[in-house]
């Protein structure tokens, strides 16, 4: 009997050991496979950036940055495209942040969370985020240009074509609609993290709901709102499809000083150089440099939003403790 017991014990021990070994092997396999996946992503990113840097930096001169394209896109620079991209992103930000923040405040602070309408709005917002960007371009063409713009022309310009055509303002607004869900979702997330204690403190002092939202909730949520803004800018600076029909120009050396003028855009310019240039081989070095500039502009726009956010965080020094 004793020996039987012992052998059972042993086999149990063995199976426990085997199980432990297996789970340890599983752990190791998981570490290796997730690590490899991460490495792959890093390698792809590194190759992309290095390739662009390598081919693009040669032509990256001050003339390239400060002059318009010349000689059928085979020489000159990209200044109008830089200017147009930055102008479009700034106008888009001015439009999307107030609208997105207001929507999120309504959804999170005022709307009855269980109500069918609120849930419908939320579903709509989430679906908006999934709509292909070319559809936004068509929406912008149909709504902003042919409906709003043409209407403005009829009302204010006695039918002359001023706003009823592709323009900087319509491209910016179309892009704002595209990035709206990003801002709404990030703001709602930020509002959710504002402690109930702070809201109650404000209300218990006799503040109205509106005063509480304005003076306590929104300042506390500002870093989160800026995170949403950063994401919106990243998305908006790189997208091309929404502006194809709504404002981007193939070639336009003048800067868009009026919201109703068309504009050059770095992303669209990349597309033009790659596929629409009269001499694709001659414009290839320019193409690389333009891509590099596009990356740099996106980076700088992001960086400025980052700086604003860290300033805000600094102002609430100690808020994290």
């Amino acid at each position: 009997m004793k020996s039987l017991e012992r052998s059972i014990e042993k086999s149990v021990e063995k199976s426990v050991f085997a199980r432990q070994l297996r789970s340890r092997l599983g752990d190791a396999a998981l570490v290796v496979s997730t690590g490899a996946a991460t490495l792959l992503v890093l390698v792809i990113l590194a190759v992309l950036v290095l390739d662009v840097l390598h081919h693009g930096s040669a032509r990256l001169t001050w003339t390239f940055l400060s002059s318009p394209p010349t000689e059928g896109m085979t020489a000159g620079g990209v200044f109008p495209a830089i200017f147009g991209t930055v102008a479009m992103v700034i106008l888009m930000t001015i439009a999307v942040v107030p609208a997105g923040v207001a929507t999120a405040v309504y959804l999170h602070e005022y709307a009855d969370r269980q109500a069918r309408l609120t849930r419908l709005i939320r579903i709509a917002v989430n679906n908006l985020a999934g709509v292909p960007s070319i559809v936004f371009g068509l929406f912008g063409l149909g709504f902003f240009i042919q409906f709003v713009g043409a209407g403005m022309d009829r009302a204010f310009f006695s039918g002359a074509k001023v706003f009823g055509q592709p323009a900087l303002i319509w491209a910016s607004l179309t892009m704002a609609v595209l990035t709206l869900p990003v801002v709404i979702v990030a703001t709602e997330e930020a509002l959710r993290t504002v402690p109930r204690e702070l809201r109650e403190a404000s209300l218990a002092l006799g503040a109205t709901k509106f005063q509480t939202v304005l003076n306590v909730v929104l300042p506390q949520a500002t870093p989160g709102i800026l995170t949403g803004t950063i994401l919106a800018i990243s998305r908006g600076a790189g997208e091309v499809a929404p502006i194809l029909f709504t404002g981007a120009a193939y070639y336009l050396p003048q800067l868009p000083w009026h919201p109703s003028s068309q504009f050059m855009h770095l992303g669209y310019h990349v597309y033009v150089l790659a596929t629409q240039s009269p001499d694709v081989d001659a414009s290839k070095p320019l193409l690389y440099s333009t891509v590099l500039v596009l990356l740099a502009v996106t980076f700088v726009l992001n960086l400025s939003a980052f700086v604003v956010r860290s300033r805000m965080r600094h102002r609430f020094a100690g808020a994290t403790s």
């Binding site: 403190a201 003076n215 100690g318």
Partner: protein
Amino acid sequence: MKIPIEAENPKITVRGLSVFYGQKKALGPVSMDMPEKRVTALIGPSGCGKSTFLRSLNRMNELIPGCRMEGTVQLDTQPIYGPGIDPVIVRRRIGMVFQRSNPFPKSIFENVAYGLRISGMTSGSEMSGRVERALRQAALWEEVKDRLTESALGMSGGQQQRLCIARALAVEPEVLLMDEPASALDPIATAHIEELINELSDNYTVVIVTHNMQQAARVSDFTAFFYMGDLIEVDKTQVLFTKPSQSKTEDYITGRFG
């Protein structure tokens, strides 16, 4: 078992107050008076409804979705749940200090000035005067007068709680509700707060929820004992702690349960 005390000088009069969260009854019906310029302590084990009761005195409960109440609460002779009564006005007259100190992530000055700003006062000598007076009343002025522009979040826990008291006092309410104001503080900070409550009762009607029976005995003039959502007994503090008329009260204060 409900023994409403008829105080001589009631500041707050509660009659038949019940509070429900959804279908579940959390409190009541409770009837009692809270006399003017006296400290009334609410004691009882966790979940007995004392905080719920406190929060229904300045209409903070209605911020919780699904919360419903019955009965009446009067401030002086005015029903605070009456039709057309704005909860914002009620909360300006009945201030509140919470269990966990909750200063705004603003400067010390701006924390105290907050209530004044939202009621329309703009910066000026009147505002700084009110802020200073509130900080003095909260026995904090000497400690912070040189760093009013610093963040309130850099203060110690006890200082933060006194700041919250100063913030509530700055709007000059008639009643001050305190929800376990010292439960997260060390003994020295607690002693500060208790001393403060004693001084405040010269000018304010104070209602304080506390877990700590010694504290209730030390600071209050009247004590109400809550158990399982019911008011079991309310009396002068000295009487309640020495000659309770209900056996449940006696069991609780002698430490037999809770």
